[in-house]
């Protein structure tokens, strides 16, 4: 009846594991109680969970990402604490538990923090920037969101019921095979990734079609904002790279569930094939994450330097070049696996080549700032911190691209330092810059600047403290993923790294305080114009938050920075002569239902509860059929209603003047 699921699955075997479970369950209960107390369930359901509005979906993605950032960071600081005291089997975590933590940290940070954060920002802003009313496939967009949430929920549930994988975020076989890992951990990992991966593939397709087909009249490709360009390239990569991880994890699942031999030691398995499949997705993935961050930096730097972006064309071509090259470098993740010297040399060279367009971009940003009137808004600070720190990470990357050097550094903390050096100042700082930049657009009031700056400085200093020692430790030969060690000279470095994590913790605390303070003081920082930062592109031309239809009249674009241009000519904020009715996609519970049952499906497969697998698959199937046969999934907002909402907007604009 319950497959492999028994009462043993509860984490009562260790106080720390039980504590983690208690915090998870307690947190969920707390949220439920607060919602009930606020009587907010109905509002939540009708206005958010069933919404197909790209702005709301974007916000929900970002909320998911921020929650998972907290969880991923708890993992991180637990590891830092363990390694700081782990000399000669010291420390407080048993090896099994430590292994679960680095596996869940990596998995969460990549799949359930960075991916939703990026998808959320693109959802929130890209349609506004191209002057459209929604993405091409609004309800599919909701499905993508809820599939991502289902994957994240599977990882969270593994804290309470059963265990998570110990095979790292990469899940390499044969260790992740059934022979060495008979428990449920790897299955949780596989199904979390498979389910959310389907969502990411669909998001990619959705964004590509939106950008190619729904731009406002006059917006040629070369008039798109840098963020839209990077979103386009990242989406193409999502649509074509995610199938590879679906194959990798799918075949691993077949090995584990059906006794197949794709990656097993014996019976003709070939585990090197897994490494190839995984990294054919994995390397494009790092560009999926970083390209939109580059786009955000470009917008932020131009806006707060009060200058046009320097070298727009070169930035666009660099982005496209990176997107194409990103499919040609995957082998650098396993130079040591035994390919011939020539193969390694080829991939080493392609890896170095991909650094060139990235270098081009650094000059774009620097020259945009040069002689600009810079406003040191927190978003601008994230960008400056990024440029300085990212260059260091880029150089260590080029170092690792030399196969003989990689043989020395492979699997050491040097690598851990390198990729955190790219992914924290690059990806995460970019998203945080975007979050603080576009927050007023989403909610109609600004985030507190002081706490934003505090957060930035803590993150920056904390990052250096936490990861610079790891470069040195890597050169001294410390392998990654170490639960204990016996070289006393390593410990001081690890203590500094732990201190760095504490400083980052202060940065995260500042972000939480920032939200509280900003909501408390929202009347003071209200954004009545929709344009708090003297913006340059279309998203700033509509109100904050934008109406459900974004633009009462679809704008016509004649410039790369259309809104700035309109403000200069005095054509901004013009009232149209008349309004037309607008068709808007209706809300639907189909997305939440699909996500909910995808979660049940994954859970049931993990625990081999086959009847439940069948039931949830049938429910999902019926939901898809029902929704996709519906021909009237839209409603019409009459011209009168549009006029009423726009009158309100112009009243606000007027009261500002």
């Amino acid at each position: 009846m319950f497959g492999k699921l028994t009462i043993e699955a509860l984490p009562l075997y260790s106080a720390i594991a039980a504590g983690g479970a208690a915090v998870t369950v307690g947190g969920a209960l707390l949220v439920a109680i607060v919602l009930t107390w606020l009587k907010a369930w109905k509002y939540l359901w009708t206005d958010w969970l069933t919404s197909v509005d790209h702005k709301r979906i974007g916000i929900m993605y970002i909320v998911l990402a921020l929650i998972m950032l907290l969880r991923g960071f708890v993992d991180a600081i637990m590891m830092r604490a363990q390694q700081a005291m782990a000399l000669n089997a010291g420390g407080y975590l048993p090896p099994e538990h430590f292994d679960q933590i680095f596996s869940s940290h990596g998995t969460i940070m990549i799949f359930f923090m960075a991916m939703p954060f990026m998808t959320g920002l693109i959802n929130l802003i890209m349609p506004l920037q191209i002057g459209t009313r929604d993405v091409a496939f609004p309800w599919l967009n909701a499905v993508s969101l809820w599939l991502s949430a289902a994957g994240a929920a599977l990882v969270m549930v593994s804290l309470v019921i059963g265990k998570f994988s110990t095979a790292g975020w990469t899940g390499y076989p044969p260790y992740s095979g059934i022979e060495y890992n008979p428990g449920v951990g790897v299955d949780y990992w596989i199904w979390a990734i498979l389910i959310s991966g389907v969502g990411s593939t669909m998001s990619g397709i959705n964004f590509v079609v939106t950008i190619l087909k729904r731009r406002a009249p006059g917006m040629t490709l070369m008039r798109m904002t840098p963020f839209t360009w990077t979103a386009l390239c990242a989406s193409v990569l999502m649509a074509f790279a995610f199938p590879a991880i679906t194959v990798a994890c799918g075949l691993l699942a077949l090995d584990r569930l059906a006794g197949m031999h794709f990656f097993t030691n014996a019976h003709g398995g070939n585990m090197m094939n897994y490494a190839n499949l995984f990294w054919i997705w994995g390397h494009p993935e790092v560009y999926i994450l970083i390209l939109p961050a580059f786009g955000i930096f470009s917008e932020v730097v131009a806006t707060f330097s009060r200058k046009r972006l320097f070298g727009y064309e070169s930035l666009v071509y660099a982005t496209a070049a990176i997107a194409i090259l990103s499919f040609t470098v995957w082998l650098h993740h396993f130079f040591t696996m035994g390919s011939s010297a020539n193969v390694n040399a080829f991939f080493g060279v392609t890896t170095m080549i991909i650094a060139v367009p990235t270098g081009v971009k650094v000059f774009n940003w620097l020259l945009t700032m040069y002689r600009g009137r810079i406003d040191f808004h927190p978003s601008m600070m994230w960008s400056i911190g990024f440029i300085v720190t990212f260059v260091i990470g880029g150089m260590t990357g080029v170092l690792l691209a030399i196969p003989p050097a990689d043989f020395l550094m492979h699997n050491t903390t040097f690598l851990v330092a390198h990729f955190h050096n790219m992914i924290i100042p690059g990806v995460l700082f970019g998203y945080l810059a975007g979050y603080m930049f576009w927050f007023p657009k989403a909610f109609g009031f600004e985030l507190n600047r002081g706490w934003g700056l505090a957060s930035f400085w803590c993150w920056l200093i904390g990052f250096y403290l936490a990861f610079m020692p790891l470069y040195l430790l890597g050169l001294k030969g410390m392998p990654r993923r170490m639960e204990t060690y016996n070289d006393p000279t390593w410990q001081p470095y690890l203590m500094v790294a732990a201190l760095g994590a504490v400083v980052v913790l202060c940065g995260i605390a500042s972000m939480v305080i920032q939200i509280y303070v900003s909501i408390r003081d929202r009347k003071l920082t209200e954004d009545r114009t929709g344009d708090p930062f003297d913006g340059r592109t279309l998203e700033w031309s509509t109100s904050s938050p934008p109406p459900p239809y974004n633009f009462a009249v679809i704008p016509t674009v004649g410039d790369r920075e259309p809104f700035l241009e309109a403000k200069k000519n005095g054509t901004a904020y013009r009232r149209p002569a008349s309004y037309a009715p607008i068709r808007i996609p209706s809300n639907t519970p189909a997305g939440v239902i699909l996500g909910g049952f995808a979660f049940v499906l994954g859970f049931a497969i993990v625990w081999h509860i086959w009847w439940l697998v069948i039931v949830s698959a049938i429910v999902m199937f019926i939901t898809v059929i029902a929704r996709s046969s519906d021909d009237n999934a839209e409603f019409t907002l009459s011209a009168g209603e549009v006029k009423r909402m726009e009158d309100e907007r112009f009243r606000q604009l007027g009261s500002r003047a």
Partner: protein, 199 residues
């Protein structure tokens, strides 16, 4: 005024149709990536028979050829269904879809019979890496065809109930793309799995 309004509505509908077609093309290209990787996996696993049966011992060219004929003909009959959508002939559409369904079902039947025979001989997917790759590649295609069959049923019902409305016609167009795509994937399977396996 109402004329202007109608054409606006029609324009929106045409745009929607175009966007859905592009989205579906992108999906098919992603699916093609999946097949490409499964083909590559199969190719490198051909030697991994672990002392068990090889393709030569197992494959039956007659069966594979018959499957090929069924699927190729079903693509043609689907083409006739698409033509009847254009002429607006509702019963012809349903008729051709029914023929396509029968041919596709015949294909799935032959494939399931082949699989069952191999498993009965002890040559199931858990026998060797080679057989895992074979069953997964061919089976993935088979699952796609089965999904296509369900989709044919659903759209036939829609044609019967709603008629050849613009949304239904646009769905039929995408189903057609899907069905022809499966044909191409099968040609790959026939020429990479069955033919070399027997030579």
């Amino acid at each position: 005024m109402s004329v202007v309004h109608m054409s606006e509505h029609e324009r929106e509908e045409a745009e929607t149709r175009e966007q859905r077609a592009l989205g579906f093309w992108l999906y098919l290209m992603g699916d093609a990536v999946i097949f490409a990787l499964l083909f590559a996996t199969y190719a490198i696993m051909i030697p991994g028979t672990a002392g068990g049966p090889t393709g030569k011992d197992l494959f039956d060219l007659n069966n594979a050829a018959l499957e090929t004929v069924l699927l190729l003909v079903s693509s043609t009959t689907f083409g006739f269904a698409s033509l009847s959508v254009r002429t607006g002939n509702r019963s012809a559409v349903i008729g051709w879809l029914a023929v396509t369904f029968l041919l596709g079902a015949g294909f799935v039947f032959l494939e399931v019979r082949e699989f069952a025979g191999m498993i009965a001989k002890g040559a199931g997917p858990d026998r060797s890496g080679f057989l895992s790759a074979f069953f997964t590649l061919v089976g993935t295609h088979g699952v796609h065809v089965t999904m296509g069959l369900l989709w044919i049923l659903i759209l036939s019902a829609q044609v019967a109930l709603k008629g050849l409305t613009a949304p239904v016609a646009s769905r039929l167009y995408r189903l057609g793309l899907f069905w022809h795509f499966l044909d191409i994937a099968w040609v790959g399977i026939f020429s990479i799995v069955y033919l070399p396996g027997l030579l």
